[in-house]
């Protein structure tokens, strides 16, 4: 790494073009697809409580995603992004972190947030943009954020969070906080300029950041191989930027956990940023706005269904006798009931008060904003039937 000290390079006298074949990046796998452990692999040091917490979170996210896709189809929420098939990537990595580490996600890391302790009610309040949403109903569903849980609010523009993670981690390093930042993104987002800027700067500044690429095979409809990139995925880019890099089976929660645990140690103890490429598959559509049957085959999906991270982990846990089939089913039913109950409650809660429209543009609303709000309220009073969500409670917003 970093051999070029002002071009003090080995001299050759014959032209030789490199094609990348000199760098073959393998994939770490501990848990095989059938839920058994590779003979020479070492299962990370995870006790029963932690294993079951990871499993519970995976199961919860599976249910949440399935229910909310259904809720979107019923017209109860406007939009949804599922993490179906990628639960091990976000939950396995979040489990390997300290609760004080910052998480900066893309929009398919609800698993990491749930692992941190975001409640089913908090999820629902955001999804329904109601007045209890921490984001005050300002962003589309799935754009979660929670300062208390060190989970940076999600933004739709792709890859913008990656250089921000570099900056955040720089601040953590300068504060001698002993914490790091993990930043998630997809292989599509890794084509954005921000990705390249971020990794280069992180390597140059040696910040405690873990860049976790969920390579799930698709950016909406564009397949990764040959259309998103022509090289060997994302991992070689980390090496090129002078960064410790590892590729893992993103559907193997143990491989994800172990890699992230070691990455955290490198980040926090040695200020070494790390790139992890988790190989997975987006079992759902990109969002509720697209239908994957238009751009991929059922056979391809079936092949990946066999690698399902949740089923794989469940098989392991049952064999380990930390879980029974019956318990898994009961837990599933219990969580499903909780999700349904929270959904029903959240959709009854009103939208935020109209005064929230101008708050947080700046730390305090400007004079112009206050005038604009008063004009708007006067207009709503004139045509209350046109604005039913706010017309009945225009006053008393300032608490």
């Amino acid at each position: 790494m970093a051999q070029d000290k002002q071009h003090q390079l080995e001299i050759v006298t014959q032209p030789n073009f490199l094609d990348g074949s000199a760098l073959q990046i393998p994939m770490l796998q501990i848990l095989k697809e059938d839920g058994t452990v590779h003979k020479d692999a070492k299962v990370p040091d995870i006790d029963k409580d932690l294993a079951l917490k990871m499993f519970d979170t995976m199961q919860f996210i599976r249910i949440l995603d399935e229910r909310m896709i259904a809720a979107q189809r019923q017209g109860r929420i406007s939009f949804y992004l599922s993490s179906l098939g990628e639960e091990a990537a976000s939950i396995g990595s979040a489990a390997a972190l300290d609760d004080g580490d910052m998480i900066m996600g893309q929009y398919r890391e609800q698993g990491a947030l749930a692992y941190r302790g975001f409640t089913v009610e908090q999820f629902m309040n955001q999804l329904f943009s109601n007045e209890r949403d921490l984001g005050k109903g300002r962003q589309m569903p799935v754009h979660y954020g929670c300062a208390e849980l060190n989970f940076m609010t999600i933004a739709s523009p792709l890859a913008t969070q990656i250089p921000q993670a570099t900056g955040y981690a720089f601040g953590q390093k300068m504060d001698k906080s002993g914490k790091c930042t993990i930043c998630y993104f997809g292989e599509g987002a890794a084509s954005e300029g921000d990705f390249h800027a971020a990794l280069n700067m992180a390597a140059v500044y040696k910040v405690p950041a873990i860049f976790f690429c969920r390579n799930n095979g698709y950016a909406i409809s564009t397949p990764s191989q040959g259309e998103q990139y022509a090289g060997d995925g994302i991992a070689p880019r980390g090496v090129a930027y002078g960064m410790k890099t590892i590729r893992v089976d993103g559907n193997d929660i143990f491989a994800v956990y172990q890699a992230t645990q070691l990455a955290r140690k490198l980040a926090v103890e040695e200020n070494e940023p790390v790139l992890i490429e988790g190989m997975s598959y987006r079992m759902a559509g990109h969002s509720t706005s697209d239908d994957p049957t238009g751009y991929r085959t059922r056979d391809e999906e079936d092949a990946w269904r066999a690698k399902d991270p949740l089923a794989r982990f469940q098989t392991y846990l049952i064999k380990k006798k930390w879980l029974t089939e019956k318990e898994a089913e009961e837990n599933f039913a219990e969580k499903k009931a909780a999700v349904l109950a929270a959904l029903k409650d959240a959709e009854k809660i009103p939208v935020p008060h109209i005064d929230e429209l101008i708050n947080d543009v700046y730390d305090t609303p400007t004079k112009q904003l206050k005038e604009q709000l008063e004009e708007l309220k006067a207009h709503i009073r004139k045509y209350p039937e046109a604005y039913p969500k706010t017309a009945s409670r225009l006053d008393g917003g300032d608490k």
């Binding site: 913008t160 921000q164 955040y168 390249h196 700067m201 947080d360």
Partner: protein
């Protein structure tokens, strides 16, 4: 008090901010021990170390992405973009990220500690890509504050306010005046209010509004008009976002005439915003149409810079036209 040029005043403000708070960081292309291409950050690395004032790789979107992240962490991030003309790779990070960080999170997170410093403007034989005044692009973005100082005294006080203001601030420095503008500047810390216009010359016949380097042209035009017996009031807007509507409106209610001048091209510039707002607030007080004296709607030229430049003569002609309407 000490005599400083505009660059020295900015350097002095950065020095004071960095001495005051350990979490103030300054960075940009070549801004480390070299001190930046204009030398605005010179001496800071020696004084505060290479982790407080440092070079970045050559990537504006990365500079702003990094700065947003650092500010969201609770630090004061002062990012220099070498020329305003090169700010556009960072447009997404500024417009979609800095400006919306607090709002989109419901105030869970903010980048209030962010200040973006960038030199702007023409008159230095810089051609297309070292002369632009891109303030209007950003002035269309709720959540940002935009400040443009006209002289060393204003630059220091405003920059100190910008750095510690709890909102992201775009601080645009008139590079034509970096060394040309000198004046007495207090050596100690002081701040000037953001969002407040400054009446730099009082008058009763006509109001001229300008900001940044263009205030000099407004003042010169006012002096020339005074020889004709025309008494102009000159207002430095200082902040474009939020901007001080009341001070301008009060002045126009007194004078009945308004000339707005900017370096940037005419169409969709900030002068248009001032004109639209003032005709709304002061319609019945106006004696003549509001005039905008601006750059042509061309890319910034090189060999015709002198002709293109919005000099005091063009402003003076607009004053006379308004007076004789």
């Amino acid at each position: 008090m000490a005599k400083m040029n505009l660059l020295q005043a900015i350097n002095n403000a950065l020095d004071i901010a960095m001495a005051k708070n350990d979490k103030v960081y300054s960075f940009g292309e070549d801004t480390g021990s070299f001190g930046g291409v204009f030398r605005a950050t010179s001496g800071l690395t020696e004084k505060y170390g290479r982790h407080r004032n440092f070079n970045t790789p050559l990537v504006e979107q990365g500079i702003l992405g990094f700065a947003n992240g650092l500010a969201s962490q609770g630090s004061y991030a002062i990012a220099e973009i070498q020329f305003g003309d090169y700010i556009f790779p960072a447009f997404d990070q500024i417009v979609n990220e800095s400006a919306k960080f607090r709002y989109r999170s419901g105030n869970e997170f903010n980048v209030g500690g962010l200040t973006i410093r960038t030199p702007y403007g023409g008159g230095i034989a810089g051609g297309h890509y070292h002369s632009q005044s891109p303030e209007a692009y950003f002035a269309h973005t709720p959540g940002l504050k935009i400040v443009m100082p006209r002289n060393p005294y204003m630059a220091k006080g405003l920059l100190l306010s910008a750095i510690f203001d709890p909102n992201p601030v775009l601080f645009m420095e008139p590079k034509r005046l970096y060394r040309a503008s000198t004046g007495e500047v207090p050596e100690e810390e002081y701040t000037l209010e953001l969002g407040k216009a400054d009446v730099v010359r009082e008058g009763k016949d006509l109001t001229i509004v300008a900001w940044g380097a263009q205030v000099e042209m407004a003042e010169k035009a006012a002096e020339k008009a005074a020889e004709d017996g025309i008494d102009c009031e000159v207002i430095d807007l200082v902040s474009l976002l939020p901007w001080d509507i009341d001070t301008v409106a009060e002045s126009v209610m007194k004078t009945g005439r308004l000339v707005v001048t900017q370096e940037a091209p005419l169409t969709n510039g900030f002068a248009s915003e001032v004109a639209a707002t003032i005709q709304d607030k002061c319609f019945l007080y106006l004696e003549s149409p509001i005039a905008r004296v601006c750059g042509l709607d061309t890319p910034y030229p090189l060999s015709h810079e002198k002709e293109y430049f919005v000099d005091h003569l063009k402003v003076y002609e607009a004053i006379k036209a308004s007076m004789t309407y």
